[in-house]
Symmetry: C2
Amino acid sequence: MSPDPARSLAPIFQPRSVAFVGASNNFTTMGTVQMVNTLRGGFQGPVIPVHPSEPVVLGQKAYKRLTDLPEPVDLAVLIVPTAVVLDVVRDAIQRGIRHLVITTAGFREVGPEGAAREAELRELAAGAGLRFVGPNCIGVMNTHLGLNTTFFPYRHAPGGLSLASQSGTYITQTLELLARWGISLAKAASVGNAVDIDLADCLDYFADDPDTRAVGLYVEGIRDGRRFLAAARRCTARKPVVAVYVGGSEGGARSGHSHTGALAGPDALYDGVFRQAGILRAPDMASLYQWGWALASQPLPRGPRVAVLTHSGGPATSMADAVYRWGLELPLLPEALQADIKKRIPSTGSALNPVDLTFSMNPKLLGVKLPHMLLSEPGIDGLLIHGIQGSSFFGAMAEMARGLVNIEVEQLAEFTEAFVPPLVEMNRELGKPIVMSGFFGRDDNMVKRLQDGGIPYYDSPERAVSAMAALYRAGRLQARRG
Amino acid sequence: MSPDPARSLAPIFQPRSVAFVGASNNFTTMGTVQMVNTLRGGFQGPVIPVHPSEPVVLGQKAYKRLTDLPEPVDLAVLIVPTAVVLDVVRDAIQRGIRHLVITTAGFREVGPEGAAREAELRELAAGAGLRFVGPNCIGVMNTHLGLNTTFFPYRHAPGGLSLASQSGTYITQTLELLARWGISLAKAASVGNAVDIDLADCLDYFADDPDTRAVGLYVEGIRDGRRFLAAARRCTARKPVVAVYVGGSEGGARSGHSHTGALAGPDALYDGVFRQAGILRAPDMASLYQWGWALASQPLPRGPRVAVLTHSGGPATSMADAVYRWGLELPLLPEALQADIKKRIPSTGSALNPVDLTFSMNPKLLGVKLPHMLLSEPGIDGLLIHGIQGSSFFGAMAEMARGLVNIEVEQLAEFTEAFVPPLVEMNRELGKPIVMSGFFGRDDNMVKRLQDGGIPYYDSPERAVSAMAALYRAGRLQARRG
């Protein structure tokens, strides 16, 4: 069942114009920061401030009230005192504005008085056919459009992972961390108290959104299980969904309730809902982001049989052990393939699977030749590689060698980068997933190149394995549906 | 039972002089890099190259053979072709050198011929009372002495966590990652094939080492369970030990065997050994480092009751849920304390536990006043704080505000830094653990200050909880022994 097009969230995630009610020239207020973020983020449409007294806000002509706007905006963002929220909503309705983000808090989550206010808001909106995110939320983001009504800048490339979260923090304060990890987002919504638009609406929207290749959910509690299940099943039929649920314990339920007024339920109940919906459950937010990244960028493996390739015995063994713990398989390679590999690697290496080159720094072997041999093997469904790195390693060596020998870091970086495009290409051509790890960050030229080429690269071998397992599980969930 | 002092590892971890056999002026060889690392690391004693033809190596007078040295060195590091290892060991014995690091590979891990070579090495060493690390290892490190015979620089401050590892990678390639995470090391040894010095010897040494406040072990397989158990029990009676074991699965056992010739055993067996030894088992290397950091820097809590303090509802709820999953408790705060907190925080906040300030950026409240109130409460054994950050947040805001308002990032950084020393001091004075998280890195002035003040600060709320749980479990293990 498709959602009603008239109730589409397109004007919220893809507005042509945005008004900010509560932005001013005082940078210490949230509304100002949110408006600045949208101005600075590269959003192309009009960004219009609404302020009772200032004629110009952040360089833009301001209007006293929403009713004064010369024409309706697609989206109005409200960051006003709790006491005036309803009045501003009435203004919006009067001006023909049909989509809001209500950032203001002080509703259900603060007790009975707030709950009464929230009921009034709900009634008002329903009567006017208004659709809104919040209240008590951070806002929305569309990185492909430069739209970011949250209070923290998005400084990474647009990506394929979309998030819907009952916490604003997980789509704002984590943006820099995600950029450091190399993870890019498509769209994101902090649903707050989710009085109107909730996780189910977001799932419905993301299901049809071509920019969204995978979805991540942060869940404190679901009110309408039936609606959630329907939307989730519709979404998971098209793209993988991964969720964190934090309300299953006494502490989590209590904290979620005072955070967003969420009504939590037992862990086992949510496990069941997620299973029925075809949603992958992640144990923590780091896993949600990291698995979501792999799900948004890699093909799903046809089976559990993986190869591990590395030049380092410790991470090889960590990966090999984690493969089993995560329910994957590490088959011995066919003898002919073993023999072929043996010819190419040092005598101290191993060709059993893991394939361990030991101390060989031949980037073509590790980055192109062996990956191609392993991915071409019909008995291998996916490839884990640990240890490809570039400038950060050379840089450290060059620093050590200073005054002794001259290491041309830039030349080495260029030399090694030549091996990234073939790996990225074989990833696409052979249609099997590649997941990588290494201990260097995006300041390393190879790490950056690989990540930007769509290959997830984690700072932990075991994490890389868990992401491969997420791909495998998502594939099984999909197959069960199909 | 104390170890035999004559067999002490002091000359290996605290040598007064080191020779490198196999270092040259060719920077592409491992031995050269290892020697450079020790020269550059700040090691104060003589660093002497041994090379068959070059008279000067890396600016130091070289000797043709170890037998040519004017006097014995405390430690000789061998990075020579496999075929000549035994000859060089004979030279060492002849020159009265009693401690070696044998980096060279090509022994038990490569098959029967290597195993025979290894047996010969063992016999030779035993006959001469030689003690050695390796073969097939990366070397040793003493950050307090600037000693680092591995091939990667240690560029962080000296710390309290010592590592013994059957993988060299986990004490070399991870050094930059650990520095980025804020984790500092005391000593480290890559034991390789562990023909002589093994994990048990390292545990014995670390038990008595005043610089070592906690120990981390990477284990592929333990040959002499009885000896390991005795050394581990002696060590855990004095300081916490955390271990990763990767040989418990078919894949892990196979990989470990071709890596270091390790003989692995079933997971349950190792679980039992670790439990008897009072060793905490970690699920992966990231946890080993991260828990080890907390164990080396924080007091152990007297009980499982923690308080969670934050200005962010999502991480508060993640922490609250993780607290239960990790076997800790999150008691409701006493009503008088709740009332006292309520007076100080915004009306949208919560004082139940988690204490959530919501959108309040008052650093004194979050960083000093509330932590003191919570840690002083007798019913609270430890404190988790999420969200203290400084310059990286202001910096992002300042960048957004550019041309609109002027944010004095440096002034704000100085202002916020004033709140770190009182928190560090109350941590020591009240003797209860503080573990923190936030999504910014060490480029943030507050994160750096807190970490350098001895407070573990992770990039994930759930990770912070897991580290607090490690402290609690280590405390229970200690109490059971005492």
